[in-house]
């Protein structure tokens, strides 16, 4: 069955650039990565997203060749590289710690891989100068890493990897050490680089905001397994599990049960939804959570009292304590809140049918 699926995919799509089949990694008794399949296509900007310990960094290091898999095999550009070390793969990594060579200048760091590859010096110089311009390090070429700021070191690490013109650029939580403002700037730059250079970027992050901002495809990992794989929009609007819903963006989550086409929530609300019987959770994003003084005629309606209001510039974040005791959040447009937002006000909250998603409970 695995084989037939395989053929079906390749028939439809182009040949994947990176193809993982049954890849797994076990450290002692612990499975860091359970056997999994993953195809990465040319030109993708892919995020491996998940909480710490979910196996995302292990997966990235398996692709880069820094660790050997416990099972399965990896093809890159149609060639089996499972047993090859990192020096023999057309992948290059931007390390979380940057991993710059402390005794080499910026120029020497960036040119190191080209020198190993035996490129002639004039070619190395030209390439290094070009990269120094590309990542805006002009004037710093002869400094040692210790005399650079975190953001500058980050750029050197990036340029050093890009110098190799990798088939796949791997980034391991590379922005995590930067402060917020710098991180935003680097995100913009990475996106611009990806646009300008094309190529395939794979990055690891635990920050869903960063994944959303950068990637055109997100693979969510949990406990060493892929739990969802899709575009940022799909992952946000159509999470397939409670975990994904809770991990990506803010979500109101209601527990309930579906019986013969009707979902009954723990707090008593009910609505129609087709699907098998069993325990389910209903996911409603705060911006889809309606808030009104009177029942608004949505799919579900509950009552509660406004407990807290935070002004966040473009919108208010309203915390409501439902009469059933649960706490829910609703985002109201700052320009048109639509109702009185005074703390203590009694309100009706609910959602429209297209504003919620029902997923099987974990």
């Amino acid at each position: 069955m695995q084989g037939s699926l395989d053929r079906a995919t390749t028939a439809q799509d182009r040949q994947p650039l990176v193809r993982l089949r049954g890849i797994s990694k076990r450290f002692g008794d612990v499975w860091a990565v359970h056997p999994l399949d993953l195809d990465i296509h040319e030109g993708e900007f892919l995020a491996l997203l998940g909480p710490s310990g979910c196996g995302k960094t292990t997966l990235l290091r398996l692709i880069g060749g820094f660790i050997e898999p416990s099972g399965g095999h990896i093809d890159i550009a149609g060639r089996d590289v499972t047993r090859l070390g990192p020096e023999r793969r057309k992948t290059n990594m931007v390390f979380q710690s940057y991993a710059l060579f402390p005794h080499m200048t910026v120029r020497q760091n960036i040119g190191y891989g080209l020198r190993i590859a035996g490129k002639p010096q004039p070619e190395i110089d030209a390439k290094v100068n070009q990269l120094i311009d590309l990542v805006h390090l002009g004037g710093l070429a002869d400094r040692l890493p210790k005399n650079l700021s975190g953001g500058q070191q980050q750029r050197v690490a990036l340029a050093r990897a890009l110098a190799m013109e990798p088939a796949v650029l791997l980034l391991d939580e590379s922005l995590a050490a930067l402060d917020l403002q710098l991180r935003k700037a680097m995100q913009d730059e990475l996106r611009a680089l990806h646009r300008a250079l094309g190529g395939t970027f794979v990055f690891v992050t635990h920050d869903q905001g960063e994944a959303m901002a950068l990637a055109n495809r997100i693979v969510v990992l949990q406990d060493g397994r892929i739990v969802q794989d899709g575009s940022p929009h799909d992952i946000y609007t159509a999470p397939t599990t409670e975990f994904v819903a809770g991990f990506i963006g803010e979500a109101n989550i209601f527990e309930g049960e579906r019986r013969s086409g009707t979902v009954v929530l723990a707090n008593g609300a009910k609505f129609a939804d087709t699907g098998g019987d069993g325990r389910v959770v209903v996911v409603v994003r705060p911006d889809s959570m309606t808030l009104a003084a009177a029942p608004s005629g949505g799919e579900a309606s509950m009552t509660g009292r406004i407990e807290d209001v935070t002004f966040l510039g473009t919108h208010f974040r309203v915390a409501i304590r439902l009469d059933s005791g649960e706490s829910v959040f609703s985002h109201r447009d700052a320009a048109a809140p639509g109702t009185d937002l005074a703390v203590g006000t009694r309100v009706h909250v609910g959602w429209q049918k297209d504003g919620r998603r029902v997923v099987e409970a974990a």
Binding site: R88, T91, A99, L100, H103, A117, A157
Partner: protein, 281 residues
């Protein structure tokens, strides 16, 4: 970080006084003595290079012999020391701390006791010969090991090994793992990583270990006396005999400082060369 304030100067003073009174002044005076003359067993202040001329005339041969032995010892010690430090830092895993502990322990245990132990091991009746004969590798004891330059080299390498391992390990411990992986990611094979990334960063430790091994073996006289036999006379033995047998401090001093100067020049040259070879391009 505050600048040097009065309180810290007071705290630093005792150590500095000890250093000045029992190192700077004696060694400085000893240097001056190398220009003095000995007349009827009395030191006479003078300013003459006669002692150095005598050193050059009489001890050049012993000097160059000592020098080559010290270079061999220092090189062997540094190479084995580097391998051992590398093993502890990168290869030994959970055995690393145990190995390191053994190395630090052998820093002590008695200088003379160690020399004596090698004397008993290497003798014709010693463990080494007995063992080799029991294994059938040799038929009769090897007589040329003890009382030869080989024994001096072996004994001093053993004595100096922990002095080389510890500074080199200290330098290796300061090398982060990520840049090593980064180098491999950029195409470097393990040997290339060693040359390009590990060695340049380990240089301060390697230099310290080599210098210590070189200086101590060039100045040693006890080891050649006890295990070197009659053919292995090193400069240390001549320096010692100038004092003990001839009571001639000026020549002994001139000999000491000649050896020291030659050692320092060699060390400076070796360091310069190593830096050049390992300089990143």
């Amino acid at each position: 970080m505050s600048a040097i304030d009065r309180r810290s100067s007071v705290l630093f003073a005792p150590a500095l006084v000890v250093f000045a009174v029992f190192f700077l002044i004696p060694v400085g005076f000893f240097f001056i003595v190398s220009f003095w003359q000995l007349k009827f067993y009395e030191l006479v202040p003078a300013f003459s290079f006669e002692n150095y001329v005598e050193v050059y005339r009489e001890y050049l041969h012993a000097g160059s012999f000592t020098f080559s032995i010290a270079l061999i010892i220092a090189t062997l010690t540094t190479v084995i020391g580097f391998l051992l430090a590398y093993l502890i830092r990168f290869r030994a895993g959970r055995y690393g701390p145990i190995l390191l502990f053994l190395v630090m322990i052998t820093l002590f245990g008695g200088y003379l006791v160690k020399i004596y132990a090698w004397k008993t091991i290497l003798g014709t009746q010693g463990i080494l010969n007995a063992g080799l004969m029991a294994l059938g590798i040799i038929d009769e004891p090897i007589a040329w090991i003890l009382y030869s330059p080989h024994a001096v080299v072996l004994t001093l390498v053993h004595f100096l090994l922990p002095f080389a391992v510890l500074p080199i390990y200290g330098a290796l411990r300061g090398i982060a793992d990520d840049p090593l992986e980064a180098a491999r990611d950029l195409g470097a094979r393990p040997f290339r990583v060693l040359i390009d990334i590990v060695l340049p960063q380990a240089m301060p430790g390697i230099t310290a270990g080599f210098a210590l091994a070189f200086l101590i073996s060039a100045g040693d006289y006890v080891t050649p006396r006890l295990v070197g036999g009659t053919s292995t006379f090193m400069v240390g033995n001549f320096i010692e005999s100038q004092f003990v047998n001839r009571l001639n401090a000026p020549v002994g001093s001139a000999l000491s400082f000649s050896v020291l100067a030659a050692c320092l020049v060699t060390l400076a040259g070796a360091t310069f060369l190593a830096r050049r070879l390992l300089r990143p391009r």
